[in-house]
Symmetry: C2
Subunit: 97 residues, 2 copies
DNA sequence: AATACATATGAACAAATGTTCATATATTCA
DNA sequence: TGAATATATGAACATTTGTTCATATGTATT
């Protein structure tokens, strides 16, 4: 990590971490570590309504943290990036100390 | 990372990431990677007023991401944890792709 | 003790954010 | 084509959040 850092990059990093900074979104991401899931499955798992989950999935998708795949009526979401797992793992390590 | 995850832990992880999810705070943390700094130094560096920085330092302190050391009138802040560096580094890696 | 310097804090305000509700879009199947 | 299922979206609302302003606290120096 170089000494002089572009302000814009740190701004983007903050934007990225916003995705991990909400318990709904982080539970969604965590649930996708083991396997891909569709929207209603996630909603059931988190015991939240489908609309709330859809809104959050869009945020995660825009941030390129997850990707989608359609199979008939169903849309499956999965993690899109290795960093996602690593960042969550670091976070868990920190809070578990 | 184990399969069944305590909901509370993920909640705490989200709380942790909130610290990294604001550009003021992440610029503060980034500025502390190279060396400890006092409050006014940080305020000058980020071109923000002293009060705003103090408020954010308190949040970072409460989250145990930074620690303080008094030397006379001056209080020096520094990073309190290895994970801080690692989490920021992962974040930068992701956005730089 | 009085002044100056460094930092912290509380209240107020504006801006950003997450959820809900109602409804729209897309796909499948009878 | 029409009904059923799965997902997406926009508006509204309440809550949270970050900054500013004024002021308080703590320390050193004269």
């Amino acid at each position: 990590m170089k000494q002089e850092m572009n302000e814009n990059i740190l701004f983007d990093v903050a934007e990225l971490f916003k995705c991990f900074a909400d318990s709904t979104r982080i539970r969604i991401l965590y649930s996708l570590i083991s396997k891909e899931r569709n929207v209603n499955e996630i909603a059931d798992l988190l015991n939240m309504n489908q609309s709330a989950i859809s809104h959050q999935l869009r945020i995660l998708k825009d941030a390129k943290l997850i990707k989608k795949r359609r199979d008939g009526k169903t849309i499956y979401y999965s993690l899109d990036d290795d960093h996602v797992y690593n960042i969550i793992a670091q976070g868990i390590e920190h809070v578990e100390e």
